[in-house]
């Protein structure tokens, strides 16, 4: 059943796993509670392991951001005040830090760092295609999140960095982002596309070779030559950052593959997210990333699959009248209305049955999971929204005690 053969020293609890790692990347499809789980894991690490722990979140719910004191901070990291943790009943040995990802700011920083000179940097920053690329383009978030992670890790400021990944259409996309970025800037296609503009000398004039002429003729018909020229100019400028950029993208990729980095996949026990999670686990292993943990979030309690519970629910429905009679007789005035009491009994019985169908489906899906990492944590559906540090603390308790069975 294990993705990795559990050796004598295989990590079996989250604290063991995290003790040996410097980076944990939380991933999973949208809506599974990735952000809260990542924040809870970081909080748990400060309690169990101490040290300086940073949670880098991408798009936290507003109340959670407020709870962590993240509002209006942009890219800056900030320490969650110890009083806030103490007020939530948490005795942290370490420091909890939090930061958000400001995509646009991160891209701008990247350009300023890698551009050969200031003029080129500003030419890029002011290009309308650049603006489009960074502000609107969803995939650009993938790369920049990993890039920021690298930057923070390189600063050496934290013992552990917990990162929540951006919501992508496909959870696997961001894994390939650094490689794709490097490929993209090094591609022959890019050189080929910008070639006429490079050797043409004068702005606006182009020199074609035999191979590219038909393409340009067609592209001009579809897009108009001005647009194509804008693209080419943008990439000519961007290409000046090529070597710095590619070196960096490769370093980012190495860091993700490093022994100090592990991945945790978060999912609920619903068919679609679970399918995504399984594919994601497989993709991680295929690419030789370290798959450290699987978090099954928002699961229904096991008591919904208890045969005693099923029997009791059946009795509540079938014998509602008789039980109501007995309750009326027992004398609690709040239960004196026999019909009402009988109705409530039937309702709770039916509700149990309804939810137990879902709980069984969840259990079956859980059992069918083919490959799972050594650490599997289950976080039940909490009776309250997770929007504060206390909520995170309760998730963290489940995370750090392994799967309750």
């Amino acid at each position: 059943m294990n993705a990795r053969r559990p050796g004598p020293h295989a990590a079996v609890t989250l604290d063991q796993l995290l003790a040996a790692k410097e980076i944990v990347v939380f991933c999973g499809s949208g809506g599974v509670g990735k952000t809260s789980v990542a924040a809870a894991a970081a909080l748990g690490a400060t309690v169990h392991l101490g040290g300086k722990v940073l949670v880098l979140t991408i798009d936290p719910a507003r109340r959670l951001a407020t709870a962590l004191g993240l509002e209006g901070l942009g890219n800056r990291a900030h320490r969650v005040p110890p009083e806030v943790l103490k007020a939530a009943g948490i005795e942290a040995r370490g420091e909890l830090w939090a930061a958000m990802l400001d995509t646009k700011q991160s891209w701008d920083d990247l350009v300023l760092r890698h551009a050969p000179d200031e003029v080129t940097a500003y030419r890029i920053l002011e290009n309308r295609l650049y603006h489009n690329l960074t502000a609107r383009f969803v995939q650009s978030h993938d790369y920049i999140a990993m890039e920021r992670l690298f930057e923070i890790h390189a600063s050496g400021e934290y013992d552990l960095i917990v990162i929540d990944t951006p919501p992508t259409r496909n959870a696997i996309d961001f894994l390939d982002a650094p490689a794709r970025m490097a490929d993209f800037f090094g591609s022959r296609l890019l050189r080929w596309l910008t070639l006429p503009y490079r050797v043409g000398g004068k702005r606006g004039s182009r020199v074609f070779n035999v191979a590219s002429r038909p393409f340009y003729q067609m592209a001009d018909r579809i897009l108009g030559s001005q647009f194509l020229q804008d693209i080419a100019e943008f990439f000519l400028n961007f290409q000046s950052m090529y070597s710095g950029f590619v070196t960096r993208a490769k370093a980012v990729e190495r860091l993700l593959h490093d022994k100090r980095t592990t991945f945790a996949v978060v999912t609920t026990l619903e068919a679609a997210p679970l399918y995504e999670a399984e594919r994601f686990c497989a993709a991680l292993l295929e690419r030789d990333f370290h798959l450290g943990a699987l978090v099954l979030n928002k699961t229904l309690p096991d008591s919904l699959r208890d045969p005693d519970g099923a029997a009791a629910a059946a009795a509540c429905i079938d014998e509602a009248g008789l039980i109501a009679d007995a309750l009326v007789e027992a004398g609690d005035p709040a239960l004196a209305d026999r019909d009402r009491t009988a109705r409530v009994l039937r309702t709770v019985g039916e509700s149990y049955r309804n939810f137990s169908v879902v709980a069984m489906r969840e259990a079956e899906l859980r059992a069918e999971l083919a490959r799972v990492p050594d650490v599997v944590a289950r976080v039940p559906t909490l009776a309250d929204d997770v929007s504060d540090v206390e909520g995170l603390a309760s998730i963290s308790r489940y995370l750090f005690h392994g799967e309750a069975t």
């Binding site: 489009n132 919501p167 259409r169 579809i222 068919a271 519970g309 029997a311 009791a312 509540c316 409530v344």
Partner: protein, 339 residues
């Protein structure tokens, strides 16, 4: 569950400030469904198509993200770019930007593409990365092409229902035609994006619907998205579909009875009658009540922040997915639309 759907319906109509009467939704030619990942966009698109087909319309169902979810909702094998009938009255196709480009070139520019599309696809991929809007325009362009075919009576269907991109991407997709005109100064692409924008903006033709669930993030994203769509694109909004609404277990009076039932003495008596599972049953009801309550606060926030009609689809306590579930959702939507 039916009772839940009915009461949800009553609540919805009490709060609805309708953008046009809700049943009229199915009279439009183009219905797009967007929303945060995981809220049930595909299910709503499929159920809407099924519902429309049940009142005699023929529907083209377009899957934009090509995950293969749509045919599965009808227990049909995956479909490609060419529409196929996957259920009586429901045709389906999966969006494919490369195929869309080929079709566009063939129909509009009479460019011979045979044998060329390989390198062209790579160039397209490249340009799409460089210039956001290209993939989007090929997607929305193809969809609107089919809508126009339907309006002008040349198609095998009356309306187009789209399982559209998620919240993060939909504004770019819907705004692509306008964005292209900002970037491209001349050429056929510019002139040909004009009619796209016009069809999209026509409230008798198009409606963008946002699917959500009664949870914090989906509700927050919905409110933000509605605001974005209003400010950034000229596209009429339809309804907000709230999926997975848990039933209200108790009336206020019943809830007091339930509280009394949970008190130690009554709990013991109940245990004596129904066995030690009594605690499981009471705890489960308690959890159901609190889950419903959390959802209700998010719903209230949604109602106060969005002035679109809300359609409620109840949480379905079912074992699996497939046509049966799609039909249940279609029935719930039908009830909400007063059909």
């Amino acid at each position: 569950m039916r009772a839940a759907a009915r009461s949800a319906s009553a609540r919805a109509s009490a709060h609805a400030i309708v953008n046009g009467p809700a049943p009229e939704l199915l009279d439009r030619r183009l219905l797009l469904f967007t929303g945060k990942g995981g809220v049930g966009k595909s299910t709503m698109a499929a159920a809407t198509a099924l519902l429309a087909s049940s009142i005699g319309k023929r529907v083209l169902l377009v899957e934009v993200d090509a995950k293969g979810d749509i045919p599965a909702q009808f227990e049909h094998s995956p479909v490609g770019f060419t529409p196929r009938e996957i259920h009586p009255g429901v045709l389906a196709m999966a969006m494919d930007t490369e195929a869309s480009l080929q079709e566009y070139l063939r129909l509009n520019l009479r460019v011979p593409v045979i044998g060329r599309i390989g390198p062209l696809a790579r160039v397209l991929d490249f340009v799409a990365t460089a210039a956001p809007g290209v993939k989007e325009i090929l997607t929305i362009g193809k969809i609107l092409w089919e809508v126009r075919e339907a309006i002008e009576g040349r198609a095998d269907f009356d309306m187009v229902v789209v399982d559209a991109a998620a919240t993060g991407h939909i504004v770019a997709q819907l705004g692509a035609a306008d964005a292209i005109r900002e970037l491209v100064d001349v050429g056929p692409l510019r002139s040909q994006t004009q009619w796209l924008s016009e069809l999209l903006a026509d409230p008798t033709i198009t409606a963008v619907n946002v699917v959500t669930t009664p949870e914090e993030m989906p509700v927050a994203e919905t409110i933000e998205l509605v605001d974005h769509l209003r400010r950034e694109v000229n596209v009429p909004l339809g309804s907000v579909v709230v999926n997975r609404v848990l039933p209200e277990l108790f009336t206020r009076g019943d809830e007091e009875t339930f509280d009394a039932l949970s008190a130690p003495q009554s709990r013991d008596l109940l245990t004596a009658r129904v066995g030690r599972g009594a605690t499981d049953v009471l705890d489960a009801a308690r959890l159901a009540v609190s889950m419903r309550r959390i959802g209700a606060t998010h719903l209230e926030h949604l109602r106060q922040s969005v002035d679109l009609s809300l359609l409620y689809v109840p949480y379905l306590f079912v074992r699996a997915h497939g046509l049966r579930v799609t039909r249940m959702v279609a029935d719930a939507l039908g009830a909400e639309l007063g059909l």
